[in-house]
Amino acid sequence: MRQKFGRSLDNLQTIVSFTDQFFAQNDIDDSVRYIVDLCVEELFVNMVTYDTETDADILIEMKPHAHGVEVTLTDFDVVRFDPRDVKPVDVDAPLEQRTPGGLGLYLVSKMVSSIHYEYRNRTSKITFIADR
């Protein structure tokens, strides 16, 4: 299943509806739903927030994979940004040293089973596996 989404946070609810439809059509364990929702949002929001020099829609594809889901987000006409290269977050730091932000891609790295990045012809493609 695949669909393109405009570069707006207002489309997050539309993406949830798309994911609802995918899960309804496929026999996938509900336990991976939260992982899919969170990782798709974090990656989509990151693309919308940082890849601001393009108006191209973002393509989201989902397909069943073993005991879970394979999800790919493709961002067109953008510079290279590998989500695996983000700085680690010190989650043991005391409150006074914690600042809002920076948790999104960290959570993605912790929750997915695997994540792959490909950059070719100014197109960023991120694929992750979410499973039990």
């Binding site: 946070l9 207002d10 997050l12 609810q13 949830v16 939260y34 929702d37 969170l38 949002e41 974090e42 929001v45 977050v89 010190d90 989650v91 043991d92 730091a93 005391p94 409150l95 006074e96 914690r98 600042t99 809002p100 932000g101 948790l103 999104g104 959570l107 912790k110 929750m111």
Partner: protein, 97 residues
């Protein structure tokens, strides 16, 4: 659908999906809080890093006056997110029964 508002005895009820699109609404509401308070997350289905940022920003502001947020009725998925984020070390958290 995301909702935030006062419940009984001044508890703040947070319900629905707290994602990046809804975070400004939550932040606007919580910015008006000046005393320690309890957030009942029993009806919160989902939170992303944007929502975590709202909680952290509010908690830090209140803790600077030795107040803070207490999070109650936290479901298993959201509790997992709190643990991955280290929020279990920053907030007083009660899991849902």
């Amino acid at each position: 659908m995301f909702q935030i508002g006062f419940g009984d005895a001044g508890t703040i009820i947070v319900a629905g999906r707290l994602d990046a699109a809804q975070a400004p609404k939550a932040q606007e509401f919580l910015d008006a809080i000046t005393d320690e308070c309890i957030l009942d997350l029993g009806q919160l289905e989902y939170i992303s890093s944007a929502g975590l940022g709202v909680l952290l920003r509010t908690h830090k502001r209140l803790m600077s006056d030795e107040r803070g947020l207490k999070l109650i009725n936290v479901n298993r998925h959201i509790n997992d997110i709190f643990m991955y984020s280290g929020f279990d070390k920053l907030f007083e958290i009660e899991a849902a029964v």
